[in-house]
């Protein structure tokens, strides 16, 4: 250890003492009692001495594991008594490390985690009776995980270390992590501290929240997904061939159970959104039975607002690949087209799917017309970025469904019906039933209005509805990722060559007489 680094005098002395004690312990069995002293320092010392003491203890116990002194033995011999005594100290050491996991100093937390994981390795490698057999000390591991995930104290650094140095690298650790997460999250999990009182106290609720947050963070950081291949990397050293961990299928099962258990927990809005955002890519493909997520997704889809938009992606994956039958899907989709749709961040995502949902040429005209009319209605209150998305979508829909062309072009004798009662727009904006909203009888005056949009690009784009429909389908991808900023930067990127046009009459005052501002503003 870099003892020189510790400048403090008192610390230096203590550190020297620890080194002295450690060398005593290692050199002769007689001075095993010094372990107690080091343990005392580890419990009571300051941050630095604690760090040194735990590290030295870790080395001592590693040596003891190798010597086999820590193995549990049935014999009532002297050596049995010694190992019993040592085990007591060892447990005490683990207890110290556990408390360190909750330490406010991130470095101590990480150090404690490392020592604990070493302990797990040693215990797994040496505790089992048969040499070379594989046995995972899950009780210890579960305790560690519970301590890390349950509290609000776990630092980002700790979580990242757990994920990067252990879970991403070692298959057995990951497998047991999933299993333990499912175990911890299950409602009938009865650790000693919970369940004693029937009702959850306030602190427990907070704890549950932090558990979800931490678990979600760690699961998000796991980059290695379960595959069908057998395991290759093990944390517990053993002879290969006789693992009791199971292959990819078991792993997938553990993964699925962990997620389902996690999603049963009460989620905060942000985690909810995060989960939905990544679900179709990171969760669903790796699950054993993705239909288990159906309830979760349907609930999210029914929640309304942006949550619904996000759920759409996962739901679609289920419908597409897992034969999920969702009743009233288009009605729900129609309901999603609310006043905020064109203003939310996730509209690009939504429209990619929307394009997909309405791609079928077999959809009835009334349905397409309803969607088109609703989108057009939304577009007159939309941002330029929203409007620029809506126009190609509508164009593509009209192009794919020529029977909807009457929305933008209706002659009096169209389809032999009597002249349309133009004064009453038959469209019912508040009607949720697609068949009853009469969109097909209406006209898209909104699109004609967009031709007079203040942003010239949109006005130009909207003009395509007045031109013959010769254009092939619009590539929607080109129109999805616009924002105010892209528009602004596009307009100001080039320095103009010509002088800007000035007003015909130069102003004579800041507020023109007759100006709207002069009604209510006093300078």
């Amino acid at each position: 250890m870099k003892n020189e680094a510790y400048g403090h005098k008192g610390n230096k002395a203590v550190v020297e003492r620890i080194i002295q004690l450690e060398s005593n312990v290692v050199s002769s069995q007689q001075s095993l009692n010094d372990i107690v002293d080091i343990l005392d320092i580890a419990k009571t010392g300051n941050v630095e001495t604690m760090f040194v003491a735990t590290n030295s203890l870790g080395r001592i116990f590693a040596g003891l594991w190798k010597q086999g002194l820590l193995k549990r033995s049935k014999e009532q011999t002297a050596s049995g008594a010694v190992s019993e005594w040592l085990r007591g100290n060892y447990n005490e050491y683990l207890g110290v490390l556990r408390t360190h996991l909750k330490h406010k100093e991130a470095a101590i937390q990480v150090a404690a985690l490392k020592l604990l994981m070493q302990a797990v390795a040693h215990e797994g490698g040496h505790a089992s009776g048969a040499a070379g057999a594989y046995e995972f000390p899950n009780a210890l591991y579960l305790g560690i995980l519970e301590l890390i995930l349950d509290g609000g104290e776990a630092s980002d650094h700790l979580l990242r270390t757990l994920a990067d140095s252990y879970l991403n690298l070692y298959d057995d650790l990951r497998y047991f992590f999933y299993r333990d997460v499912a175990k911890i999250a299950s409602p009938d999990y009865d650790p000693f501290k919970r369940g004693k009182s029937g009702a959850r106290s306030q602190s427990l609720v907070e704890e549950a929240e932090s558990f979800v947050r931490n678990t979600f963070a760690v699961m998000g950081m796991i980059k290695v997904m379960p595959t069908a291949n057998a395991y290759t990397a093990f944390w517990i050293s053993h002879e290969s061939g006789n693992e009791s961990v199971g292959g990819g299928a078991a792993h997938r099962k553990a993964f699925s159970e962990a997620w389902i258990a996690l999603l049963r927990q009460p989620l905060t809005a942000e985690i909810y959104k995060q989960t939905l955002l990544t679900m179709h890519r990171r969760i669903i493909p790796h699950m054993v039975d993705a239909t288990g997520l159906m309830d979760f997704l349907s609930a999210a889809y029914d929640a309304g607002g942006s949550i619904s938009l996000l759920a759409l992606n996962g739901l679609f994956t289920l419908m597409d690949q897992y034969n999920l039958n969702y009743p009233q899907f288009y009605e729900k989709l129609y309901a999603l087209l609310d006043r905020n749709l064109l203003h939310v961040k996730y509209r690009a995502r939504f429209f990619r799917l929307f394009d997909l949902f309405l791609a079928s040429p077999h959809l009835p005209a009334y349905l397409v017309a309803a969607f088109v009319k609703r989108l057009a209605r939304l577009s007159i209150a939309a941002t330029p970025a929203g409007a620029v998305t809506v126009i190609p979508v509508i164009y593509n829909l009209l192009k794919a469904h020529p029977s909807c062309m009457q929305l933008i072009h209706r002659m009096p004798s169209y389809e032999g019906e009597e002249s349309v009662d133009a004064e009453n727009d038959p469209y019912l904006a508040d009607e949720g039933d697609l068949a009853k909203c009469n969109a097909l009888g209406s006209s898209l005056w909104e699109l004609e209005t967009l031709q007079q949009h203040y942003y010239p690009n949109i006005a130009t784009l909207a003009n395509i509805f007045s031109e013959p429909f010769h254009k092939p389908k619009f590539q929607l991808e080109d129109f999805l990722d616009h924002t105010y900023v892209t528009f602004f930067e596009g307009d100001t990127a080039r320095t103009p060559k010509k002088a800007p046009a000035l007003a015909v009459q130069p102003p004579v005052a800041l507020l023109r007489t007759g100006d709207a501002l002069s009604d209510f503003l006093v300078l």
Binding site: P384, I408, D425, P456, F488, V504, A509
Partner: protein
């Protein structure tokens, strides 16, 4: 050519002979006696020769049909006569040879000759012409020459009219020409010395002896004939009198000249008063000219005259326009500007070419578009630097006051100048004073040029400055704040009249740092007068800088905490508006940067909340841009980004404070102003307006309360809680407060003590004020957007909202609400209802796909009824044209080649002829020599024979 056959086929010679005899051209001709000749048969003979010639030509024609070439006609055009229907090839060849002889042949003859005499006498080289004919020709030519020369001769037009009879001649030349001669010779200084008698006397007296003149004199009257002595005396007296008169005139001239010389000093001072206006005159030259005459007259005068040659001449000016013309021109200008604006509004280019097409009339000359197109000419004094109408500038000057100082102090300054004159009068006599002045002038000019350079150098720095505006603003603010605190009274007298033009804002702060706001405006007015665009080409740049500086100043003033009084802001805006036209490019770029700058700030504020992104200064500048620029354009480099920025702010900012909300409402007002003419839809403005309006009546917690299609998140709903008018809230003043500029100001950290309390506390008065503003704005937008096809869809939510508010206002106990607001609500409602009803009545289904049907393409094969090989049936017009041209070129080339070949043949023939002649003459010469020699030889032989014979005989 001897033909073998007999009978019908005769030989050509026989044919000719018989033809000549039948025509009566050969054989026994009529005998012409001498008698006949005298009677004038000779005259008949000339007509006979013509007849003869014609007959001969006819015989020639008839004789050889193979010489006739008949050109085939492609198209028989009725009534069209062509020259080349039948061409006599032989004649044509002959003609060509003749022509060559006269051109190439002549050239060959004169090939190595340089000089010589060309006989240009008419008919001299024409052997066919009779001498009589020749003379007649020459005579007419002479007459024509005379008459054409006299056509422009003003002096003797009388003679032209009456013919030759009146013009007198002497030795074949007219008298009038002789008068000219006199004039030429009559040089007054010569006569003076010699004492010769006057030309007139000479002409009358010396030519008196001629008959014609004498006859006229005699015929004049019955006066007795003077004796010679009398006549001579008269002549002498007359000549003496003339001489005296001349001397008198000369003396007078001399006097005037001397006087002019004396005055010249002052006149010249006037001429070279200001160097700036006369860039042609270099400073040193002017200096020399000024100091020159006092030192040595002659040399400087010469140089001076030489300089005057290069001096600008006065140019004819356009006459002043009458009031009506000026008014019509102004009207035309406005109409044209409006037309351009309309075009730009539709997104079409408003080019000057289109303009000049449509306005070819004289009104187009004055338009600044055409003016700008005119290329600069060397004579230009720089008048054309103002692109914006000069009229505007002049109007501005006429109306814009130059400040109290100028008008009020004129008398004082007069006095001052008087005293100055007194003190300076002593110096005027000194020779030094002039040079001293000139030195001063030089200094001035140096200063000017320095400024020009510094401006140029600064332009590079300005960009850097732009990048760190935030750092400097605080400094500036401090400076201007200090300026404002400065006492406004008592300083007026101390305002100087001339200032250095500020190149940037720091210079401006330095310049006006100590003056009050009113004085600052005076400074601006004076700066504009000092650096008027007409005075110097550099002034364009200076005024452009001034305009930018004023814009920045406006931004600073808009941030002042007790707001700057409106008249000052308005005056400043007026200046900016008028100056913007001077250098629109620079001003536009500055404004664009201001918008970009503001966008960056708003972006930052949106990302990290708490910081007010939009400042009061931004709002003020945007309002300025909306009226300075042509905001109705479809795309505008300043207005379009500005609208995007405003829209982003309105739709993404969380409006939590009164400052934010009032800022938003003002922005909506600005949006309305930009769309006043173009009436384009700005959804964000409507959304914000509806949300704000709803906020006064809806519960923030109740989501169902906020129905409508304007987007609204929960956070926004929460933030609007501020505006909700409570049930128990009472409007104390019974009046809705108008919004104040102070509401827009962000809570400044530096002057917390000055913060007025009412802008923080949102009382019922303020809420009703906001409500009233919303209602007024909505009404404006209803007016603007009435024509939109989706007017109903856009404004039905407003209708519902108004219904809800008016339903709830009674609940808030109507008596609490100011009557003004209640009335406004009612009128707005009824107005909107009416408009919506009208719109519903006028609504028709869309017919966007109503396109003109396209003709179906025909695939019938093409068929030509009268096909002709010679005609090209190429459907491609241009290709057809090209082949036609190519054919023409080939034809021409062939013709040219043929001509050249014929020329070469001719030349070769000529050369051969010459060679033959040469050979022949040589042969003749040799023959002669031989014959002489042979004769000699034979003589000698004869003599030898004779001698031998003699000898023999002797023997």
């Amino acid at each position: 050519m001897v033909s073998s056959g007999k009978g019908v086929k005769q030989s050509a010679l026989k044919k000719l002979r018989s033809a000549l005899s039948t025509a009566g051209l050969t054989g026994p001709s009529a005998h012409v006696t001498k008698k006949d000749k005298k009677r004038g048969v000779a005259k008949a003979g000339s007509s006979k020769t013509i007849e003869r010639r014609q007959k001969l030509r006819a015989i020639q024609k008839a004789l050889n049909p193979f010489e006739m070439q008949v050109n085939r006609k492609k198209l028989d055009v009725l009534g069209l006569k062509r020259k080349d229907e039948v061409v006599n090839v032989a004649v044509a060849r002959q003609r060509a040879v003749e022509k060559r002889k006269s051109t190439i042949g002549e050239e060959r003859k004169n090939k190595h000759r340089t000089g010589g005499v060309v006989d240009r006498r008419i008919g001299e080289n024409d052997p066919t012409m009779d001498p009589e004919e020749k003379m007649l020709r020459r005579f007419t030519a002479e007459r024509q020459k005379r008459s054409s020369a006299a056509m422009y001769n003003l002096e003797d037009d009388a003679g032209d009219i009456e013919g030759e009879i009146t013009s007198l001649t002497h030795y074949g030349q007219s008298i009038s020409e002789m008068d000219e001669f006199n004039d030429m010779g009559g040089d007054d200084d010569d006569e003076e010395g010699t004492g010769a008698v006057g030309g007139a006397d000479v002409s009358t007296a010396h030519f008196g002896g001629f008959e014609a003149a004498g006859g006229e004199v005699e015929g004049d009257g019955p006066a007795r004939k003077k004796t010679k002595a009398e006549v001579m005396q008269e002549i002498i007296a007359k000549s003496k009198m003339h001489k005296q008169e001349r001397q008198l005139i000369k003396e007078q001239d001399e006097d005037i000249r001397r006087e002019l010389d004396d005055d010249f000093e002052s006149v010249r001072a006037m001429l070279f008063d200001d160097d700036n206006s006369k860039p042609m005159m270099s400073a040193s030259a002017g200096d020399a000219a000024l100091s020159g005459p006092t030192n040595d007259g002659g040399a400087s005068y010469d140089t001076y005259v030489r300089e005057l040659v290069y001096e600008q001449r006065a140019r004819p000016q356009d006459r002043l326009k009458t009031e009506m013309e000026a008014a019509r021109e102004e009207k035309d200008r406005l109409e044209r500007a409006e037309r351009h604006r309309q075009r730009r509004m539709e997104g079409l280019p408003s080019d000057s070419e289109l303009d000049s097409d449509s306005d070819n009339d004289e009104s187009g000359k004055k338009g600044y578009k055409t003016k700008a197109k005119r290329k600069p000419v060397a004579d230009d004094l720089g008048d054309d630097f103002a692109q914006g109408g000069d009229a505007e500038m002049e109007n501005a000057e006429a109306t814009g006051n130059l400040g109290l100082g100028l008008t009020g102090e004129e008398s004082a300054s007069d006095e001052e100048s008087g005293s100055g004159d007194e003190s300076g009068s002593g110096e005027d006599d000194d020779e030094e004073s002039g040079s001293g002045d000139s030195e001063e002038e030089e200094d001035d000019s140096e200063v000017d040029s320095d400024q020009g350079e510094s401006v140029l150098a600064d332009s590079g720095d300005e960009e850097e400055e732009k990048r760190k505006p935030a750092a400097t603003t605080s400094l500036r603010k401090a400076a201007v704040a200090a300026a404002q605190r400065a006492p406004s009274s008592g300083h007026t007298e101390e305002l100087p009249f001339t200032f250095a033009a500020p190149a940037n804002y720091d210079a401006w702060v330095e310049l006006v740092g100590g003056y009050s706001l009113e004085q600052q405006l005076t400074v601006v007015a004076r700066l504009r007068a000092l650096y008027h665009i007409r005075l110097s080409p550099q002034n364009k740049e200076k005024l452009g800088d001034l305009c930018v500086v004023l814009t920045e100043h406006l931004a600073v003033l808009a941030e002042q905490d007790p707001p700057v009084p409106a008249p000052i802001i308005d005056d400043l805006v007026k200046h900016i508006g008028e100056l913007a036209a001077v250098d629109a490019e620079r001003f536009g770029e500055h404004c664009r940067q201001a918008v970009i700058d503001c966008h960056r700030r708003v972006q930052q504020a949106l990302r990290a909340e708490g910081e007010p992104g939009m400042r009061a200064s931004d709002v003020a500048l945007m309002r300025l841009f909306a009226s300075v620029f042509s905001s109705s354009d479809r795309f505008h480099t300043v207005i379009t980004p500005m609208l995007i920025l405003i829209s982003q702010y309105l739709s993404q900012h969380t409006f939590a404070t009164l400052r934010d909300i009032s800022c938003g409402l003002v922005l909506v007002g600005i949006v309305h102003e930009t769309q006043r003419l173009s009436r384009r839809l700005v959804p964000e403005a409507l959304n914000f307006l509806l949300a704000t309006l709803a906020a006064t009546a809806c519960h923030s917690a109740d989501a169902a309360d906020w129905d409508g299609q304007y987007p609204l998140s929960r956070r926004q709903r929460e933030s609007y809680r501020l505006l909700q008018i409570g049930v128990a809230e009472k409007c104390k003043s019974k009046k809705a407060l108008p919004m104040r500029w102070a509401w827009l100001l962000s809570p400044a950290a530096d002057s917390p003590s000055q913060r007025a309390a009412p802008s923080v506390v949102v009382t019922a008065d303020v809420k009703y004020g906001i409500l009233r503003a919303c209602l007024q704005l909505s009404r404006r937008f209803v007016d603007s957007y009435f024509q939109l096809p989706a007017f109903i869809e856009c404004f039905e939510p407003l209708q519902k909202l108004l219904a809800k508010i008016s339903e709830r206002l009674p609940k808030f106990r109507l008596q609490h609400a100011p009557a003004e607001v209640v009335d406004l609500l009612a009128t707005t409602r009824t107005y909107l209802d009416e408009q919506l009803d009208q719109a519903r009545a006028a609504r028709v289904p869309l017919k966007l796909q109503y396109h003109k049907p396209l003709a179906i393409g025909s695939f019938a094969p093409k068929f030509e009824s009268g096909y002709n090989l010679d005609v090209h049936y190429d459907p491609d017009r241009s290709r057809n044209e090209i082949t036609k041209l190519r054919r023409q070129v080939n034809k021409e080339r062939r013709g040219a080649v043929r001509e050249l070949r014929r020329d070469a043949q001719f030349v070769a023939g000529e050369r051969l002829k010459e060679q033959r002649e040469k050979d022949k003459s040589y042969a003749d010469k040799m023959k002669k020599a031989w014959s002489v020699l042979e004769a000699d030889q034979s003589d000698m032989k004869k003599m030898d024979k004779a001698r031998i014979k003699e000898r023999k005989a002797k023997i």
